[in-house]
Subunit: 138 residues, 4 copies
Amino acid sequence: MAPISEHTYHRQVQFPETDASGIVHFTNFFKYVEEAEHAMWRAAGLSIAVMDAELSWPRVAASFEFKRPLQFEAEFDVHLKVAEKTRKTIRYSAVLRKGGEEIAAGSLTIICVRRRPGEPARAMDMPLDIADRFQVAD
Amino acid sequence: MAPISEHTYHRQVQFPETDASGIVHFTNFFKYVEEAEHAMWRAAGLSIAVMDAELSWPRVAASFEFKRPLQFEAEFDVHLKVAEKTRKTIRYSAVLRKGGEEIAAGSLTIICVRRRPGEPARAMDMPLDIADRFQVAD
Amino acid sequence: MAPISEHTYHRQVQFPETDASGIVHFTNFFKYVEEAEHAMWRAAGLSIAVMDAELSWPRVAASFEFKRPLQFEAEFDVHLKVAEKTRKTIRYSAVLRKGGEEIAAGSLTIICVRRRPGEPARAMDMPLDIADRFQVAD
Amino acid sequence: MAPISEHTYHRQVQFPETDASGIVHFTNFFKYVEEAEHAMWRAAGLSIAVMDAELSWPRVAASFEFKRPLQFEAEFDVHLKVAEKTRKTIRYSAVLRKGGEEIAAGSLTIICVRRRPGEPARAMDMPLDIADRFQVAD
């Protein structure tokens, strides 16, 4: 399979994602991007969290600019791109769109770590069979 | 220390716990009861989830009747009691009150299981040093 | 359109729905049932939460028995049925299945209320154009 | 009362805030900062979300750098500061610390809007009795 550079993820707002101001609570935008990331990994033939595996992918940075609100049952797309790649990290950029409208734009950086019971997590180079599946978008 | 039969947990509603209907989303009542349970375990000198431990306490049943809504910043108490105890399970009853008013009442049953990597979880008798810390309320 | 008695909703476990014990946190089962309910309402041509509407559908009771755990990325179905209907309330029964396996079974009761700014919510008879869309399953 | 420039908010990690990798899911850091913000508003004699009010405070930007993981039951502080203030917006900076250790650092920008039923939200100048309660930290 060719490496993946981008992925579009379709989603509908669920009720508990809204708050008393009537719109999606901002923290859910970060969940939407992570869902899109995991869907992109599945599209690449991978799972980002294999049970009992030592490898883990904590987030080291996340940011969003919110431009328009989303309401209950709104349908939207997360357009996810691989924006940067180092030996240990991947940075994604993400744009949420509803119809033609841009709702929000963000960024998410993950790092490859090894976790063993009783030891602190350590950053490590991504295994090649994972690193080779992703490629920076043009 | 004497075994524990009940615990009162004070809490204030946080904004993301509300939904677009303006009140606390009902699933958060179950979170409040679980927070009260974990506070009760700490009051008993225990942690319900020790890192890397084989023992785990999944929930086997949970129920609630909702009587009055809760709004953002409302302060309330969870009154938690040990309602039943077997060798493998504990059932709690819980009442949420705001001022003198009953908001909701529920029940939560947990079971002691052992989880080992690569094996299915298995129900097991509670270790005595845990079982002895809890006692059914009058 | 003929009234609706049941609905099947397909879902995949998302990462933040898991907890440190490695499985789906039990409160998310209630979210899954609610998602299935809202999908059933859409299948009936309705939205359960219209912006700025006076009508609201708080939950008056919810319960679950949990039989098997769900892990990250597990795919499952929520089988939702209308189990009871009165002039003001609907009770659903729900079964979650993964492959042929029953994961959990629960119940959710909702009530029709009117909310006006500055007034307490009041139970009311369901509007007929909503009540007629649902029918108790055999 | 003198205007407020900073606030320290103490918190303990709750179980559903963890995920299957054993640590706090990154989206909860944004919830912690928002909780600290709302506690700061209460310390200033204000509520950020008054029922049925037209005023609302959506988030226009949010970012975090995550330096160390947090586990279940970890106790930590959110140190919140007013970093910038315009007529319509407030930007907070936030640092999470556990013991002496920095866990994460972030930023959150909010804007004052008016929401009326059936109209889109419009940015507006903060009311003076709110604006005067906050002051940029040194």
